[in-house]
């Protein structure tokens, strides 16, 4: 059974329809990546799954139960956690306090302050500083660390490697691989297609609010990806 089972999900911003019948599944323990041009609906999709947009209950099932449209905090209790686009660090809080916010409704699990500081040592060094004193890439680390602090079953990460140095991206993916091995399921939006093909078990490409391609990396050629991006 899928951990996340999204069926024919449509979503709107007011009158504007951003998603048109998206169907997507993620099995427990999998890493699934969503790629696609900017504006294709990738972030909207993650927001809809995380309860930030109104969607019908039956459109999103988690662990076999319909959860669409539930408020985000209730979804965090179930283990669905979003690392949002644009980092959204609390400017009035320190690095450590930002992390503690992530633990507010934490489930039991491996992620603790200590563990996050081991993943991103620079956050430990700057634990008392305001979150917005960090560099852009460090804020991205903080946003990911804050998400992990909830001990998610399903971690949704928007633009996972945005602003991170290649060495950190490499280290992050290596760590996420370990997290996944422990049972956390990952659904990531990533622009780096070659990275996606190396780490994801399955890949979905979005185009204009719909799924234009889904497959395992071994069967994805450059031509098929290009066609799915641009609708050749």
């Amino acid at each position: 059974m899928s951990l996340l089972d999204v069926r024919a999900l449509s979503a709107f911003y007011g009158d504007f329809q951003a998603l048109f019948g998206v169907t997507l599944e993620v099995a427990e323990g999998e890493t699934v990546a969503v790629i696609g041009a900017n504006g294709a609906g990738k972030s909207t999709f993650l927001r809809a799954v995380a309860g930030a947009l109104p969607v019908p209950a039956e459109a999103v099932a988690f662990d076999g139960r319909p959860v669409g449209g539930r408020p985000s905090h209730a979804l965090v209790d179930l283990g669905i956690v979003l690392v949002p686009e644009g980092r959204k660090i609390f400017p009035s809080l320190s690095v450590e306090e930002n992390l503690q916010v992530g633990a507010h409704r934490r489930r039991p699990g491996p992620w603790t302050l200590e563990r996050v500081y081991r993943l991103f040592p620079v956050l430990g060094e700057r634990r008392t500083q305001p979150g917005t004193n960090l560099s852009g890439g460090e804020q991205q680390m903080l946003a990911i660390g804050r998400g992990l602090m909830a001990n998610p079953r399903l971690l949704l990460v928007d633009e996972i490697s945005l602003g991170l140095a290649p060495v950190v991206v490499q280290q992050l993916y290596r760590t996420l691989e370990a997290v996944r091995a422990e049972g956390t399921t990952l659904l990531v939006v990533e622009q780096d297609v070659s990275r996606v093909l190396a780490v994801a078990q399955r890949v979905y490409c979005f185009r204009k609010g719909s799924v234009s391609l889904q497959d395992v990396p071994a069967r994805l050629t450059r031509e098929r990806i290009a066609a799915a991006y641009f609708g050749a």
Partner: protein, 222 residues
């Protein structure tokens, strides 16, 4: 944040800056643009000491900065956003600036979006607008802070083409970016920064093949 950093950009030159997160790259651009004051050291522009000049005066002098996360005036149109650069940033009178603003929109591929509210733009368009606003100030040097971040590969290439065109028009470029191949495709020199200092400064090939840069930045173990 910065420790006796020395960094130079020649007229019409394109220089890329790489370095680990927190190395001081954005801080360096902010010091050059006048948003931060250095505790020690000087910023020279065209031979003149501009260390004491505030950001708006440096902008008028010809130093323009684009931000990592674009912050346009969301409720204003694309054209109006660019007009702010041309008037407040360059000192033009509004009616004299119209033609230049249209030319800037053309150059950055935004002409068809001129009357769109900036808040309705896609990410690539927001990045283009960030560039257009900076160009409207008439810079001699353009400081780019991760302008390609978050873009898909084809979008990165489109943006690189615009930056290359800007550079060909005679504007010097200082560009921070983690998308190393985008930098390598157009800069004359690369500077690698770590702990607020220049670790290495040379041709892209020389810098990227250095063992230290590979270790601290690219994550390649020897």
């Amino acid at each position: 944040m910065l420790d006796r950093l020395t960094l130079a950009v020649g007229e019409r030159e394109a220089v890329g800056v790489i370095g680990p997160n927190g190395a001081g790259k954005t801080t360096a651009l902010n010091v050059l643009a006048g948003r931060l004051r250095p505790d020690r050291g000087r910023v020279l522009f065209d031979g003149r000491d501009v260390t004491a000049l505030p950001a708006h005066a440096r902008c008028r002098a010809g130093i323009a900065l684009t931000h990592q996360i674009p912050h346009p005036f969301e409720a204003m149109t694309v054209f109006e956003n660019v007009l702010v650069g041309a008037t407040y940033g360059r000192g033009r009178r509004e009616r004299d600036a119209h033609a230049d603003c249209l030319a800037t929109l053309e150059q950055t591929g935004l002409r068809a979006r001129a009357n769109t509210r900036a808040g309705a733009l896609t990410l690539l368009e927001r990045k283009r607008l960030e560039l257009a606003r900076a160009l409207a100030t008439g810079p001699r040097v353009l400081l780019l802070d991760e302008i390609a971040g978050g873009l898909t590969e084809p979008e990165v290439q489109q943006l690189v083409a615009v930056v290359r065109d800007v550079r060909a028009s005679g504007v010097a470029i200082l560009w921070i970016e983690h998308i190393v191949h985008a930098l390598r495709s157009m800069v004359d020199r690369l500077v690698a920064i770590d702990f607020g200092r220049a670790l290495m400064d040379g041709t892209p090939e020389a810098v990227l093949s250095s063992a230290e840069v590979q270790r601290v930045y690219l994550g390649i173990e020897p």
